[in-house]
Subunit: 249 residues, 2 copies
């Protein structure tokens, strides 16, 4: 194992938390939280802002989202287990947001994993949304911050997932390069190794048979490919008073 090049005299920490359930063990001393749900909540959020949406209100339950169905100016979106919940026109597909008329509207969204992670970390000093779609804009902004950074993976139903961890490793790679940030957690080092193994081909993350089967059943390959294609947007969504808005920078 080539040693992850840590920085001896780093000023701030950047750490990876693999699971929402581990957040309480990591949050202490961390200032900025980056919430990650590559497939597909945070990818969908970045896409929605990129296509003109004004605000996204993340809610925990389907019932809360349902109250916004048909309300003027609002789009209600709900996903569970990879599928759009019955009665909703939108789930968490970024391509669906890209192709719809959403300019100036407010999305109220609930998803299996991503909005759960957002709600868990809503009291962070600052929370932003990360995805491959905005990775360069995000890391350029992060590296300028004078604060500790926690990369919070949403996982899949409370379990570890590869795409969120590989993405966290990609962000860490950039931040460690700067010399300003260092790591102390084994999970952070592991994330970087997973990124190093995956970086030649992000789609290979999904090569393992069982997940590919699940995605094929749901006919999500176009969405997945889109979510794993970096740098399609310069938008960084941030949470302000419980609502996601486009960061002004």
């Amino acid at each position: 194992m080539k040693a992850v090049s840590n920085n001896a005299d780093y000023k701030f920490r950047v750490e990876t938390c693999f699971l929402p359930g581990q957040f309480p063990l990591y949050q202490q001393d961390m200032g900025i939280v980056v919430v990650i749900d590559i497939l597909r909540a945070t990818s969908a959020m970045v896409t929605a802002f990129d296509h003109g949406v004004d605000r996204i209100i993340p809610v925990a339950t389907i019932e809360e989202a349902r109250q916004y169905i048909g309300r003027p100016g609002y789009i209600a979106a709900a996903e569970r287990n990879g599928e759009v919940v019955e009665g909703f026109a939108f789930g968490n597909s970024p391509l669906a947001f890209r192709d719809a008329d959403i300019k100036g509207k407010t999305i109220v969204m609930t998803t299996t994993n991503g909005t759960k992670a957002i709600n868990l970390a809503r009291n962070a000093r600052k929370m932003v949304i990360g995805a491959f779609l905005n990775i360069t804009a995000l890391t350029e902004w992060l590296v300028k911050q004078d604060d500790n950074i926690l990369l919070l993976c949403s996982g899949w139903k409370d379990k570890f997932n590869l795409e969120d961890s590989v993405f966290a490793g990609a962000v860490m790679d950039k931040l460690l390069e700067s010399g300003k940030f260092g790591v102390e957690e084994d999970s952070s080092i592991a994330a970087k190794y997973l990124y190093m193994a995956a970086k030649e081909n992000y789609l290979s993350i999904l090569k393992a048979a069982p997940r590919r089967k699940r995605l094929e059943q749901l006919r999500l390959f176009d969405d997945v490919k889109f979510c794993l294609t970096p740098d399609q947007s310069r938008v960084i969504p941030e949470l302000k008073d419980g609502v996601l808005v486009r960061m002004e920078n």
Copy 2:
């Protein structure tokens, strides 16, 4: 990322659980649980059996272990935060067990992470103890079993650790090679990638600065080197009625 070669027609599953706290999400349908605490509980257990100990009773609390101090035929061992607990002659150092007269005795042991994982999984259909020290004997036995196998990492204070995960990846590598076992969890695939990154030099797992510093402070390098050296024993400890004994095979 080279795809982890999964087996299309596997008969049984082998999965890696990174954390004791995740065990409830993984235990369903798993028959054999391998408890892993490379630094140092399960390494110490294998060493103790290899040097003639009769039984190891894993206990959750220091108080339970303390009752055995000075009792004829018993050795009380307690470790917290990498150090021997005050009043005890033994902690979880495999070298201490190797160098002591323990033949025919019963060890009563409590450790920060390892005995916690054992207690958590004590109702598994079968539980065995894994370490680099007995990896070949263990994997040769595992591959002959007709059952699903869960590799349960003890972690470090409820957080992910690298050495347990790399070891799990090494075991998975062997079991996947057989064609008899397959994986469904992302954590299992990640463990195998971490093993692939580390296998040329297990000591490199500890290259990241913060952990090295901690180990240096505790002067544990000899112990660590010993724990990361494969195939020093053919013993497989197994849990029977709450007590660890040497498997007869």
